[in-house]
């Protein structure tokens, strides 16, 4: 198994000094920015352009979603603590903070699930109107990113539990952290654009 593979004992020498995987992660996140950028642009273009309801102000529960956003932001803090733990060789802290981060992510996802089902009950579906299509697609893809993040965190947690995540492999936690912070930042943008900025309700606008 590659935990003990010889290459990892002595890190590869690279032209930039950055590990290959770290560079890959940065390139991926840059690419993902454009992915979310395009989804957000679609949302903005169609903001207030739905010709039938339900409209945002009829379904949004801002305090509820704010709590959920706060949970996700908190998970960024626990992620930082997990990385700090592995870097100083604190295996107990590592396991605790990894699990905490994954759990907070799970709470966020649970919140999103509840929100989605509530909206659907109130008549806002993927097919209902432009708002439904753009809202579910944008927040749904974000939720999918969080889900992948939770899976990565849980895999790291299990690996750590089995004693296979020693201090030398802190890069694995760092990469997960990069991804996790990115997903959090994207949520701040989505939360602002979708929930906080008052949408004009131009009924029947062309």
């Amino acid at each position: 198994m590659h935990v003990t593979a010889p290459g990892h004992a002595a890190p590869l020498e690279t032209s930039t000094g950055l590990d290959h995987r770290k560079l890959l992660m940065w390139a991926f996140l840059g690419s993902d920015c454009l992915f979310f950028g395009s989804l957000i642009a679609t949302y903005l273009l169609y903001r207030g352009k739905s010709i039938t309801g339900p409209y945002p102000h009829e379904v949004f529960n801002i305090p509820y979603t704010s709590v959920s956003a706060f949970v996700l932001l908190t998970s960024s803090l626990t992620m930082v603590l997990a990385l700090a733990a592995i870097q100083r060789g604190d295996q107990r802290g590592l396991k605790a903070w990894l699990l905490a981060t994954a759990l907070l992510g799970g709470v966020f996802l649970g919140g999103q699930y509840f929100e989605f089902t509530t909206f659907i009950r109130e008549g806002l579906t993927l097919r209902a109107n432009l708002f439904g299509s753009t809202f579910f697609t944008l927040t749904g893809f974000h939720g999918a990113h969080v889900t992948v993040g939770v899976i990565i965190l849980l895999s790291l947690f299990v690996t750590a539990l089995r004693g296979r995540l020693p201090r030398e492999r802190h890069l694995n936690v760092e990469l997960a952290g990069l991804y996790w912070h990115f997903v959090d930042v994207v949520w701040i943008v989505i939360f602002t654009v979708v929930y906080l900025v008052e949408a004009p309700n131009i009924v029947g606008a062309g």
Partner: protein, 626 residues
């Protein structure tokens, strides 16, 4: 490591055979993957060529009824999609794979298994995109697939589902490959090879890779919206629900214009390698050529609306995009002047690679000039969607990309086959293609200005279009014969061509410093680079203090470490082992996409296979057999 491997089920063991059919399926060697890309792309190129010849045959005369409009619309759509996504892009990818590690002095790419994954996804994506032929409904709304013609209401057939899903799958492949080459080029250069010492082809690959990872997410979103509309009933392009069809055009062209440079920059890179070699002179103004390539890459993001001059964006937007588009002609012109200056004063060996590179310049100038004429919105309003545009785009994509890629094939063939392509057949190939190309696409300038729209399956007599259409069709057959000459040359030279030395052209870059064909590990000792044209300098300048030294091989995703490649053991070089998992993951992804068109159970099966593949990938032992 042996302790853990022993516990894993047998299927997770790394395959060991470096020969035979399975060794190609499980290969992670960049050279073999490059060969796979090349042959697959050429096969698709032939398919796209047959589509093109059918189109030209239909248009040879007025009121032709050889093919129905339904079939014609599928043919022109699939011709474009095939040539862009399944021929030119993967041919470029073949060169990235074959050449980049050799040019930067590396033993492989940064993520060899990811590289294999890119290829297999490309293959399955290409088959998925073409699967429409099997059910009689291929995509038929043009490669640009403007909404809302693509909505379920106006295109109820399955064709556009294949379009959306096929391109989504292919996009995954392109992005995976691009991530790999960004990391490889930035991180795996031989000691001493600074960015401004990189060969121009490597530079253009880097720019292209950045364009891929930034442009593809945009079209991915567009395709997801299209697929959701068609499969799940969302309203992104449903005008009855208030949607604006221009959303698609913006998403498409924000991707589409960088895509144009994704298609042309690799060919420009190849030409920038071929010209100095055959002129026996360094590239004139290397920093200018590199910077103009980089600035073309940047400016490519600021011109997308020049594809939309007729949609009525208003005079301010039209004027702005006209100016940004004209500005992009400046770095393009700089490249051409520098190429001519490279030739000036040289000792030009007019071998086939140079002929194709010269053909590239000649034809690209024509394509560039016609391009300037539609950077001007009022002039473009008469040219948009006519054969004038068809002429323009083929001068840059056929005369440009294809000629550049052919220059590359003739140039690097000996490096990978150990034999030279036949010079006489090569010249025949070049002149057939050069004359055929001008005969096919030259008259289209006139046809367009004479009012012939594109994407029409027939035209009435009396419009004055008959004669030049006939000439154009004749030219296309000549092109077809040119491709046959190439295929004949390729096959016969591969079997009994003249043996090539490791450096048949007196090359300048590192790939010529190693044997032809290169050993699996490429470089027994990694060279140290002291300037541009590293190998040329070694041969002619003999830098003092040149000390070859060993460095670790590629492969940071866990498979670069430890596995012994064939024949590399005696040198103590560690090469990435073979792996089943790239093709398994790709198969799972493709099945999941097919499932979206057929049955949810197929999706589930695909996802399961993909998860199994990812699991195996992650826990694959580094050693093949312990």
């Amino acid at each position: 490591m042996a302790t853990v491997t022993g516990a894993l089920p047998r299927v997770l063991r790394r395959p060991t055979s470096y020969t035979g059919w399975w060794s190609w399926v499980t290969t992670v060697d960049h050279k073999r993957i490059g060969v796979l890309y090349g042959f697959t792309a050429f096969a698709f190129l032939l398919v796209g060529g047959i589509e093109a010849l059918t189109i030209r045959t239909q248009l040879a005369g007025s009121e032709s009824a050889l093919v129905s409009p339904e079939l014609y619309n599928q043919l022109f759509t699939m011709h474009a999609l095939t040539m862009i996504f399944l021929a030119v892009m993967p041919l470029s990818a073949a060169f990235f794979n074959l050449i980049i590690p050799l040019q930067i002095g590396a033993r492989d790419v940064a993520f060899p298994r990811l590289n294999a994954l890119s290829y297999w996804i490309f293959l399955f994506g290409g088959l998925l995109l073409n699967a429409g032929w099997l059910v009689g409904n291929s995509p038929d709304a043009g490669w640009f697939a403007y909404a809302n013609l693509t909505s379920k209401t106006f295109s109820p057939e399955r064709g556009l589902d294949f379009y959306a899903l096929g391109l989504l799958v292919l996009g995954t492949s392109s992005m995976a490959a691009a991530f790999n080459f960004v990391v490889t080029i930035l991180n795996m250069r031989a000691p001493g090879m600074t960015l401004m010492r990189m060969p121009v082809f490597t530079w253009m690959t880097l720019v292209t890779s950045f364009l891929l990872i930034t442009a593809f997410p945009v079209i991915t979103v567009g395709l997801i919206e299209l697929a959701f509309d068609r499969l799940f009933g969302t309203n992104f392009f449903v005008t009855a629900k208030g949607a604006n069809p221009l959303l698609w055009q913006h998403l498409f062209w924000v991707f589409g214009h960088p895509e144009v440079y994704i298609l042309i920059l690799p060919a420009m890179g190849i030409v920038s390698e071929v010209l100095p070699t055959f002129a026996r002179k360094p590239l004139f103004g290397y920093p200018f050529v590199v910077l103009s390539g980089v600035s073309i890459g940047f400016m490519g993001w600021a011109v997308w609306s020049h594809h939309m001059f007729t949609v009525g964006l208003g005079p301010v937007a039209n004027a702005t995009f006209a100016l940004t588009t004209m500005v992009i002609a400046v770095p393009t012109g700089v490249k051409i002047f520098n190429w001519i200056a490279t030739l000036w004063g040289g000792s030009l060996s007019l071998k086939t690679p140079l002929l194709f590179a010269l053909g590239f310049i000649v034809l690209f100038i024509i394509g560039g000039l016609s391009g300037v004429s539609h950077s001007s919105p009022p002039a473009d309003s008469q040219q948009q969607d006519t054969y004038y545009i068809v002429a323009h785009l083929h001068y840059v994509l056929f005369g440009g990309s294809i000629f550049g890629l052919f220059a590359g094939i003739y140039y690097w063939f000996p490096k990978f086959s150990g034999r030279l392509l036949h010079e006489g057949l090569g010249k025949l190939n070049f002149w057939l293609m050069f004359i055929g190309m001008n005969l096919t696409f030259g008259p289209m300038h006139w046809l367009g200005l004479d009012g012939m729209p594109r994407r029409i399956y027939s035209y009435p007599a009396g419009m004055g279009w008959d004669f030049w259409n006939l000439m154009s069709t004749a030219g296309s057959y000549m092109l077809g014969i040119g491709f046959l000459a190439f295929a004949w040359n390729f096959v016969s030279s591969l079997r009994k061509g003249e043996k090539a030395t490791s450096d048949p052209w007196d090359g300048r870059t590192l790939e010529w410093s190693i044997a032809s064909p290169p050993p699996i590990y490429n470089f027994a000792t990694i060279p140290t680079v002291h300037g541009r044209d590293a190998f040329w300098a070694q041969k002619y300048l003999e830098t003092p203090g040149h000390q070859p030294r060993g460095v670790p091989s590629g492969g940071a995703d866990g498979d670069g470490d430890g596995a012994h490649g064939q024949g590399a053991g005696h040198l103590g070089v560690h090469m990435p082992g073979l792996s089943y998992f790239p093709i398994i993951v790709a198969l799972g992804l493709a099945l999941a996409a097919v499932g979206l068109l057929t049955h949810v159970a197929v999706i589930a099966l695909g996802v399961l296979i993909m998860l199994f593949g990812i699991y195996g990938w992650t826990f694959e032992p580094a050693e093949p057999d312990e």
